[in-house]
Assembly symmetry: C2
Homo-oligomer: 386 residues x 2
């Protein structure tokens, strides 16, 4: 397997783009990534596009081919991949694999979603496509329900409090204020969070990521074929994809996702590093409590201490392990198919040293993208050149 580098990044702001066709958002992010890489687009040998619910919400599929057409790419394989909220991470892994295995020397990754134009009930129904509806449909659970349950168990087992979880919300919303791409940065107090509407007890409004439109894109090139590209190439140390149970009842413990645990273990092994080597992380905080669980599952924080670390500021920029300096899904937003690609965009900026909420001397970065009720997961590790 060959070494592969990320040489170009692009992203639309995450937020409301109502009226803009979904493929146009994808094209916009892709053009920015191609220009950032300085690469001739005739060199692109594969396109992977991550998208989740453009079918139900837009009546549009074959987006990989449509985006390639509008970009004027060569006659190359163009593939949409889907794994619910992990669709973007899966697209990245396949582009990496296409180059690492020698299928092509350069590839384009696009993640894209539009959601804000649809009525809330339709969006909720579409998001529930990520559930195992035959098995879990009768429970009536939606994703806030699942993470509300997880919170209750975490609280019961580890004594996690509303105030500790609010620390995650405050941190990510504050980080979002520094990120011009973020949808919903804010300065919030514990009182404001605790007074916000109940969504699915104990989850309240500010514990939930918003519905978002947006796109992000990456250009990947074989590390021995960088000539003709510009800027700092960021090396891909690991790109791992795993699965877990799609059923809520299929998880022995709702406070841990096996897909995350195994993806992280394999990624560290592939990269030859330990969690202590990671300088900055963008992880899948679809809900506040998800960040707590993810940080434990990724081995970044001792089991049961995710909430404590957040409350003590150890996951803030400047802390022991900065988590979601972009604002994360909670503040940056969650245009589902774009999210995993957007995380990589953020970490590349950190490793280039050009992030608006920069982690000092960041050398190794991690992304974590989780789909559905833990059915699919990707974890990636990146390193800046020495």
């Amino acid at each position: 397997m060959r070494d592969v580098s990320i040489v170009g990044i692009g992203s639309t702001p995450f937020g409301r783009h109502a009226g803009t066709p979904i493929e146009q958002l994808g094209v916009q992010a892709a053009v920015e990534a191609l220009m950032d890489a300085g690469i001739d687009r005739s060199r692109i040998g594969a396109l992977y596009l991550g998208n989740f619910i453009s079918g139900p919400l837009n009546g549009k599929e074959v987006l990989a081919g449509i985006v390639a057409d509008q970009l004027g790419l060569p006659n190359i394989p163009c593939t949409k991949v889907e794994g619910a909220c992990a669709s973007g991470g899966i697209a990245f892994r396949h582009a990496w694999l296409a180059i690492a295995s020698g299928q092509c020397d350069a590839a384009l990754v696009v993640g894209v979603e539009t959601m804000t134009h649809a009525p809330t009930a339709q969006t909720t129904a579409a998001l529930n496509c990520a559930m195992d509806n035959e098995n879990d449909g009768p429970s009536g659970l939606t994703f806030p329900g699942l993470f509300g349950l997880a919170w209750r168990i975490h609280a019961d087992r580890y004594g996690t409090t509303r105030e500790q979880v609010s620390a995650v919300v405050r941190k990510n919303k504050a980080n979002g204020l520094l990120n011009p791409l973020a949808q919903m940065g804010a300065t919030l107090t514990d009182e404001q969070i605790a007074a916000s509407a109940s969504i699915c007890d104990p989850l309240q409004l500010y514990d939930c990521c918003p519905a978002s439109d947006g796109a992000a894109a990456l250009v990947l090139v074989a590390s021995d074929r960088l000539s003709g590209t510009q800027g700092m190439p960021i090396n891909i140390l690991a790109a791992v994809q795993t699965r877990g149970s799609p059923r809520i009842g299929g998880h022995p413990d709702l406070c841990s996702f096996e897909a995350t645990v195994s993806a992280a273990r394999r990624a560290y092994e592939m990269a030859g590093i330990t969690p202590r080597d990671v300088d900055v992380v963008e992880l899948h905080d679809c809900f506040s409590v998800a960040e707590i669980i993810d940080s434990e599952d990724l081995g970044l924080v001792p089991r049961g201490e995710g909430a404590i670390w957040a409350a003590e500021g150890r996951t803030a920029v400047g802390g022991q392990i900065p988590i979601n300096p972009s604002g994360g899904l909670l503040a940056k937003g969650h245009p589902v198919g774009a999210t995993g690609v957007g995380q990589l965009y953020e970490v590349v900026r950190q490793l280039r040293g050009t992030h608006p909420n920069q982690v000092r001397d960041a050398e190794i970065g991690m992304t974590h993208n989780l789909g559905g009720a833990g059915v699919a997961c990707t974890v990636s590790l990146l390193r800046r050149p020495a």
Copy 2:
């Protein structure tokens, strides 16, 4: 790149399975393929699932993970891929690639779709997700419209007649009668075809494939890791994926799809053979006229003579180049995401010498799977052991 073989095949009948959950059809085909291969399922290292419109029609995504869960597969990457009607062929190519590139030694391919439960208007709208709706939506064209246009041009340019096109319909419907998996085999006369309802002039009812439910599955294994499998391994000579314009106006000629032409050219080159070496073909006859165009694009029939060859019986079993002995999409049916995988199922049976409509001494077989208005195409070439 390593050699890869197909060692197991499975398929549900194509037709109406209303009331059966989509994932259950996928699991049924997969279990049959795994048992056919005789392989321990702990050896499966990747799952690729082709599906097009389960989101809009079933409210279900993450089907790759759900099928893997129900099969009890190990913790492996499970990915849904989508490229409209070529989704199944794309799933096959990615499983081949995962093994050929050394990512894993064995992989499972599943193609699945359910459509017959939905009202016709909803199905038509969902199928139109394969169009470039921003550009072609205002034209009001659906797929019958596109292929009706192509027929008119073919007729104008080459003098193709209703009777010649009917020969394709009669052949495929008759082939379907011999295939127990086929949805709509029939013995038809030219008079019956010409008297059938007009769908989109000149296309009539029998020129159009039906809406279908169904699933097909394949087990692929590295050719140097066949120990522990049973039966005749069928070697994959080529697995190619290309793109063409998603826009109707993007094609310089509606009587030819660039994605097919380039995929065939690359496949012959990859396999080191010529069209004359091909003994049996399953190609994408979503409409009768599509078979005529495809047979020319694949280089199996001289340009402009597709209709003549069909009328002269040269594409029948026993003819010069047997096309769609399964009945094709016209008679076997077209459960969209399953179609490309089902074509490979049929060709493997031909090369094993166990097909119910056997082509004598078939040694090399071809499949051709086309998505949307020619936006995506896969062509595969298989060979039986000497």
